[in-house]
Amino acid sequence: MTAVEDPTSTTAPEAPANQVGQARLRKEDARLITGATTWTDNMVLPGMLHLSVLRSPVAHARISHLDVSAAQQRPNVVAVYTGQDFAEEQGSIPCAWPVTADMVNPGHPSVAVDQVNHVGEAVAVVVARSRSAAADALEAIDIDYESLPVVLDMEEAVQEGADLVHSHTSSNTSYHFVFDAGEAGTGADTDQAFADAEVTVSRRFVQQRLIPAFMEPRSVVVQPQGDNFTMWSATQIPHVLRVMLAMVTGIPEHKLRVIAPDVGGGFGGKLQVCPEEVLALLIARRLGKPVKWTETRSESLMAAHHGRDQVQFIDVAADREGNLKGLRVRLLAGMGAYLRLITPGVPALGAFMFPGIYKFPAYRFECDGVFTNKVPTDAYRGAGRPEATFAIERIMDELAVELGMDPLELRRKNWINAEEFPFTTVAGLEYDSGDYGAATDQALELVGYDELRAEQQRRRESNDPVQLGIGFSTFTEMCGLAPSRVLGSLSYGAGGWESASIRMLPTGKVEVVTGSTPHGQGHETAWSQIVADQLGVPFEDVEVLHGDTAISPRGMDTYGSRSLVVGGTAVVKAAEKVVAKARRIAAHLLEASEDDLEFTGGTFSVKGTPGTGVGIQEVALAVFAAHNYPEGIEPSIDAEATFDPVNFSFPHGTHICAMEVDTDTGFVKIRKYACVDDVGTIVNPMIVEGQMHGGLAQGISQALYEEAIYDAEGNLTTGTFVDYLLPSAADLPHFDTGNTVHPAPGNPLGAKGVGEAGCIASTPAVVNAALDAVRHLGVTDIRMPLTPERVWRAIHTGGDGGDRATAGTNAYGGASTESTAGVSTDASSLGGDR
């Protein structure tokens, strides 16, 4: 390929080649910075009706009484539907990943029929002429619940005789998934390794529930046209959604078009077939009118899927010199009340990553998927891999303490060395390329390591109330989802390929169609760079089309840091086909043999006679006219390609966090954050850096701020942004980022993926840093997020900081502790202003 890094020509708009590697400014921005966007909620169609969803205020109950007649009489209300109305046609929200043959899937109605299993579950839908009329009518719905015992704690839920979330199942365990390296033939016997070990360390870590909290609330519009339906949705997965909706509703796939217009972030949270999408489609079909549903933020927090939620039991075995001997992991993975699209598969994605970058001879992984009366979990940035990375990077620090070794020395001793790639791990994965030592050395320099250690020493000696700690995370992740055959072997319900096509327009302009649907990543820019290089056309002459099943009919969409690795490669393959087709036409036009042609800078010319060629854009016009082309071929140079990778890619990096801990209050503050990542070949360094920043923010936020908390009755206490804390600019540090580049051997771009790296790597670095600051005070663990109270308690009373109180704050009169389902209280505020 022609890609080389050329930092000198960034601003030359006509530069015909060498786009890959440049920080091209984004094409997407033109509409985003001017407000000329097409968010789904912007859509207005003639006669469009608005949906409002009544949601359960109780976590577990039978619906004993439901009367919607008064709501139906409200002005401007067209219809009110309950679960009974759709019982026969709503089917179940699909689960595409039955991780074991005997996995229990209780089924997931889009609107509850006779029982609710989590707060926020839909129980009725109002259809009205306006958004406000729909919201008003919710208050007129008469519903009573007969309480059932609420199951919230996973460790209690798996006990014998525990109350059941689903009474028709025999336990709260959905599945038991095992990977044993000994049995798989990829490692030694784990029990034996532990029996023989000189040192073992065991820990229990909690991966708290998180909420993806994309900024654009979910929204869906459905327009019925006879027996055809068009759906606009704020989704990451229009292609997957179309297939799944066809299967759920019985609407034939070819009668259904799904469009993801501008989508305001997803982070896995919009990788879903949402109950509200199904309902909007069913209601539009029933009424024959276009409908729109847009969620409020409080609906989003309580009813869109959550992420993480694991209790991790991890044991590591080593000898006294610090050589790793074995790793054992047992997980309780929270499913919530139902299985959604890949709910059970998320922990399975992590199953193979707990060994991290280390050469363990033995490994065993077990996971129980556990039902609770909470909203289902599913993908959230990293999906399974942040959980694995956290556990291994945390316990490496614990083992270092046990052995009295420097945590970095222990890591160096056990990580895969640069010359050992490709390396097959104890989990059976083949890591592709990298150099952990090089990234680490560069990161140490970037952060100013020696200086920080000296300051830490000074603060310790002077008993400074503000202590300093330094934490590492030397991580790798599994990206480029995914080789279809591997997915098949893991019982996933689909493949992992991606599709692209290239259309050469008569004027020489180029349309690139990608099946990887973006929602903020900058595909339009990066794909243009790739195609500009491949075809030798100006960057500006390329338009990237996506997100509409009628325009980009084949695709697997965007998640798992797959877009560039898999989708970008499909674009390269399609471009290669275009060039091959154009070469035949060019040879004909030049009256030369194909073998005598060379293709450089977008021009075919006869070798040895520069300046006598024909440009590929001219070929496009010649093909359009079709007056003069060779016999036996079709007059088109358009092409389509599908790329199915044979292996994952494995970005890696070293992240170093320096953390100040105020031992008087427990307040923690990141002093410095540096990381050096290897994401393979970089197509657009500006976009890569942006992805790193955003990932870091989310990973740090897991460590410090975010937690979905349910109270003892199963109410989501963190039901608004008042209590579900997202950091603002004032709460995050400056990031120093760098790269090493070891191209991925598995794709022609050499790209490894970057979307999830920062989010996966940063969380353990932050927690390790906080612990390093206060370990000399006797602290061995602090549960995430590191609230000031938890840190203070861990310092002053031991333990991991314990549970937080579950009551919401009193802000807005206790807004967050109330159900927002049309409840009115008498909070006696008089024009308050915070």
């Binding site: 603002s728 009193n810 505020s829």
Partner: protein
């Protein structure tokens, strides 16, 4: 979410406002800056029959001096407070606390009087008003009355305002250069409400503390004074030892709530630490 429907009145004078409240039916809400009320209405935690919007009542906005007293109109916005020259000179404690309220946009709309009338114990300004022994001027159908801060804050979101009454102005003592002040706020993210905060004003005479006023935010259902600390500081040396010893009494007699940000004992601990810090800063230690 959209508020439930309501009738709307937009008076331009206090008299008109009182009339609008009287005419508004059973459940009237007074809209000052609306930065808490509108979210509460959007969440439908409040669904008033009538909203009386004071934003056009010009006489309620602004700061003036009357001898040793600063008179702040109830509809003076947080941004007005931050830009006001009189407050810059004599009202630094209020200015410091106001700087920590929410964010720029909210400070543009939100008002001093609205925040006090809302009486959210996590709000930053009630503790300042209490620490300074502010006087609250209320007008209602039966005339005008003045209520001291110690009687204004009655309970959680509850004040001495009677039905039909309006808070029109707040009278604060001028603090001259002999006073040192500090608003010490503790929260988890920048724009959040206080988990605990301490408003401290200390008057020095020579090397001694002649007077100390300490208000506590979010240490109970109303703002509180740290009376034991104030008493311990009276006549004490300006020294770290004296300040530390007095600050250790800051949580005495408090019974703060427990929520996901802090349990009660941790709030009490924070009150002691923050009081020490506020006093150290206010006394220039």
């Amino acid at each position: 979410m959209i508020p439930a429907a309501f009738a709307y009145a937009r008076p331009t004078t206090v008299d008109e406002a009182l009339q609008a409240i009287a005419d508004g039916g059973e459940d009237v809400k007074v809209l000052a800056g609306g930065q808490s009320l509108i979210p509460v209405m959007r969440l439908r935690l409040a669904a008033p029959e009538t909203v009386v919007d004071l934003t056009r009542v010009a006489e309620l906005r602004g700061v003036r001096e009357e001898g040793d007293v600063l008179v702040v109109g109830a509809m003076t916005t947080h941004s007005d407070v931050l830009a006001d020259p009189l407050l810059a000179q004599y009202g630094q404690l209020l200015v410091q606390a106001t700087e920590t309220v929410a964010d720029r946009q909210v400070r543009h709309r939100g008002t001093f009087g609205g925040a006090l009338a809302h009486a959210d114990p996590a709000g930053d300004l009630p503790a300042v008003a209490l620490a300074l022994d502010a006087e609250f001027v209320l007008v209602g159908p039966s005339g005008r009355r003045t209520v001291p801060a110690s009687e204004f804050f009655v309970d959680y979101l509850t004040t001495a305002l009677e039905e039909g009454e309006l808070l029109v102005e707040i009278r604060l003592p001028k603090l001259g250069s002999e006073w040192g002040v500090r608003y010490e706020k503790f929260n988890r993210v920048a724009q959040a409400w206080s988990i605990v905060a301490v408003a401290a004003a200390v008057r020095r005479e020579g090397g001694r503390i002649a007077e100390a006023r300490i208000g506590l935010t979010n240490m109970g259902s109303t703002p509180l004074r740290a009376t034991a600390t104030e008493a311990a500081l009276l006549g004490a040396d300006v020294s770290l030892e004296a300040v530390t010893a007095a600050a250790a009494l800051a949580a005495d007699g408090t019974s703060p709530s427990s929520d996901l940000n802090a349990q009660a004992d941790y709030r009490q601990h924070l009150a002691r630490v923050l009081t020490r810090r506020a006093l150290s800063a206010a006394t220039g230690l």
